[in-house]
């Protein structure tokens, strides 16, 4: 299918696939880590300054 060029075409496609999948996996893992970190902080009762200010304003 690739003639004598398989040694160039296959690595080009494999490396591209690895890079694109790697970007997606990295982003999804980052999202999960940040979500769990945020949930942990909220569980401890930590708030952002805007949230804390709003809470104080509402008494």
């Amino acid at each position: 299918m690739f003639g004598n060029y398989a040694g160039y075409i296959v690595p080009a496609y494999v490396l591209s696939a690895l890079a694109l999948v790697g970007l997606v996996v990295w982003s999804v893992l980052d999202y999960r880590a940040r979500r769990s970190e945020l949930a942990e902080l909220e569980r401890k009762g930590l708030k952002r300054r805007s949230q804390a200010g709003a809470d104080r304003a509402n008494g």
Binding site: Y5, I9, A12, G22, V24, R34, L38, R48
Partner: protein, 252 residues
Amino acid sequence: MSETAIRRASLWDFANPTRYLAIAGPAIPWLAGVTALLLAAGLWMSFRAPADYQQGATVLIMFIHVPAAWLSMFCYGVMSVSALGTLVWRHPLADVSLRAAAPVGAVFTLLALVTGSLWGKPMWGAWWVWDARLTSVLVLFIIYLGLLALARAIEDPATAARALAVVTLVGSVNLPIIKFSVNWWNTLHQPASVMRMDGPKMDPAFLYPLLVMALAYTLFFITLHAMNMRNEILRRRIRSMRMNAAREAGGA
């Protein structure tokens, strides 16, 4: 309130990080689905394309090399607009957008260099030549790496945002150099064959798969950019919560 003022207010409401998260959350799975379908269609069309009469089967590399090269510049264009958003309009999401795009742009640039090298060896007989196109793309990759390092080096977010924006805008001078390098200098790299004033100079058998792959890569970038922006907003919320807790603990 005038109509212009209402429109401006709406645009700024849309820029609110909380509203961004509310819109991006449901949109990301749809964007990802359309991207996957377009990538599948593009690959199917690419592998059905005939071998080129000169380049043989290596023309297959074009369908992933050219979109990666286009996206390396498109991504930097998005970052340059974001940099203007930080410096001129002080848009709350501009720096988030710049930081979210930088690693994706770096990977696309690296892919353009690597796939170009894998295409160059059988066609030119060399993995690398120091011609204007290849060298200017290598400079773009180094600029991306510099921006990523700078983003990590400065801790204060406001200072980091301004520094990143300024360096990004300085680096944007490289974009027209990359685009026109094949016209301004005598390069081994071929001149533009799609984005030309007189229209594409490519047979439809190769042009259509290339355009579908380019669209798929563009949507891939848009999806990943939205995902990374969401991550960056969460990271800033976490930082804000920790800072607030430290401030309250210090004041108690």
